[in-house]
Symmetry: C2
Subunit: 329 residues, 2 copies
Amino acid sequence: MRIAIDAMGGDHAPHAQVESALAAAAEWPDTQLILVGKPEILTPLLGSKVPSNVTIEPAEEVIENDDEPVRAVRRKSNSSMVVAGRMVKEGRADAMISAGNTGALMAVGLLLLGRLNGIDRPGLAPMFPSLDNVGVLALDMGANMDAKPEHLLQYALMGTIYREKVHGIRKPSVGLLNVGTEQAKGNELTKAAYDLLEQAPIHFVGNIEARDVLRHKCDVIVCDGFSGNIMLKAFEGAASSIFSLLREELMSSFKSKIAAAILKPSFRRVRDRMDYNEYNGAPLLGVNGLVVKGHGSSDAKAMKTAIRHTRTAIGNGLIAALTEEFSGK
Amino acid sequence: MRIAIDAMGGDHAPHAQVESALAAAAEWPDTQLILVGKPEILTPLLGSKVPSNVTIEPAEEVIENDDEPVRAVRRKSNSSMVVAGRMVKEGRADAMISAGNTGALMAVGLLLLGRLNGIDRPGLAPMFPSLDNVGVLALDMGANMDAKPEHLLQYALMGTIYREKVHGIRKPSVGLLNVGTEQAKGNELTKAAYDLLEQAPIHFVGNIEARDVLRHKCDVIVCDGFSGNIMLKAFEGAASSIFSLLREELMSSFKSKIAAAILKPSFRRVRDRMDYNEYNGAPLLGVNGLVVKGHGSSDAKAMKTAIRHTRTAIGNGLIAALTEEFSGK
């Protein structure tokens, strides 16, 4: 299988991208890693012994984080992100991964690859960590700000197929993100979506509150992109605030510094279990090809995790399964 | 000043309510605490030496957490929550506090007290903890699920007055909860609200992401009740998950148990600083009288905190200031 990596997008690009491609190439000899970006930058980073399954696809431009997404994708047609998308479209890559501008990546999916038949709006679907380490697929986390009930139904169907195909879960449970568990709770969108989900051929488990998502009350949680993104960033903010406060407290006295030093591995394990990078690689579900978003702050380890998930999705025929599900709808 | 306390509402009612009223009566002799509920239950709890500023107002019914809010308020006209609301309406109390059914309390505010002139939808406005211990007033957290841009403007104006009057902040900064900081970000609601907020006579600081709320990027954050409630419960869920994981890790070996015992006070301080109960007492802003919601799980300490904030709001003429601001609008 062949994976195109936008080597220029992300806070730690291109180093993390190059390093992860080399590590992935060593671990998975059946996988071709294609680094898309400026050869004059990437070649020196690759060093002298380049494995045969790592190649460079030249792209002279870079889409920056503050570029306006749609305009950037239209004007920077030779940027690393657009070139990677074009490789997927032309069948020269089975998937692309980018840790760059999220809006631009969605525009690559929509404008270049187009929507799957039967899908109105694609959804961005990261995995959330859960206390039992299984994780919860959440969509949409920001691709579609003003969702309609039928979009949430499409997310539920796509999320079900993703968890079946990529994670091997039989009859994954689907929850609707809401402000309470009773059926009558929520806004106009969730009330209408509840009725659609109840009648859909999925394992619908009803409304789920944000505080229960990390407790793995469902395998897939669906919501509009606005509230999904609010939840995602609230989780991140709470975790980062708590760890800041802990650090401050534990450094406040000699005695607590000693005790904290003993507990360092424990703290690291807790941090890792709450870390989104452990689940890095959010597919943009609903576009005509496999487009995977890496977290903007992805390091080499996180990028390699994204490559691992992408391999699994390719290997299990995710896009073919989605195409089949929605064809004729 | 006179504060009516719904003595029967909340997970720890009536004990926490009675205990907090006695503690508040001792600390603030100028304040009359009126416990509303069943006298045959409350009288024994008060004991033999009842301070002169604690009284019982009889109410024979109780609104339960699973009661349908509007129906409960209409049918249980002699419930502790409705009687407390009636005392505010009739001028026999300056404010009411309840830790009971949130929906029913909003119905008491709307149906019994009515909206302030110029307010379309009241908003529930709890304080969020912030890393610098100042806190952020957030509204709406669930009173109004399908908000319109002008509702968010009204929240911004009411939140500004609350922070000026109750917390003594001059020119409080107001942020709009959004998925990114750029002006063009968000859904149809936030885009329209941004324009209104920019022209309002407030100190508007633009879009704020959920992860920055705990970092005190603004004194007041406004949003629709649905996404506000999602954020609130995401913060709660992340904090509770992290503390569960920490507990599990620290109990995993003898060495870590010893170190954890040394750090216990540090952990407790972090927990307290992230604890919503420390800021307990969310006003329902926009109704014709001071109605304050205590967290459902409020213990006596949390209830006393709610009483403290309510005293400050009464003492600083919050409702008169709100009435004046919106009269003629």
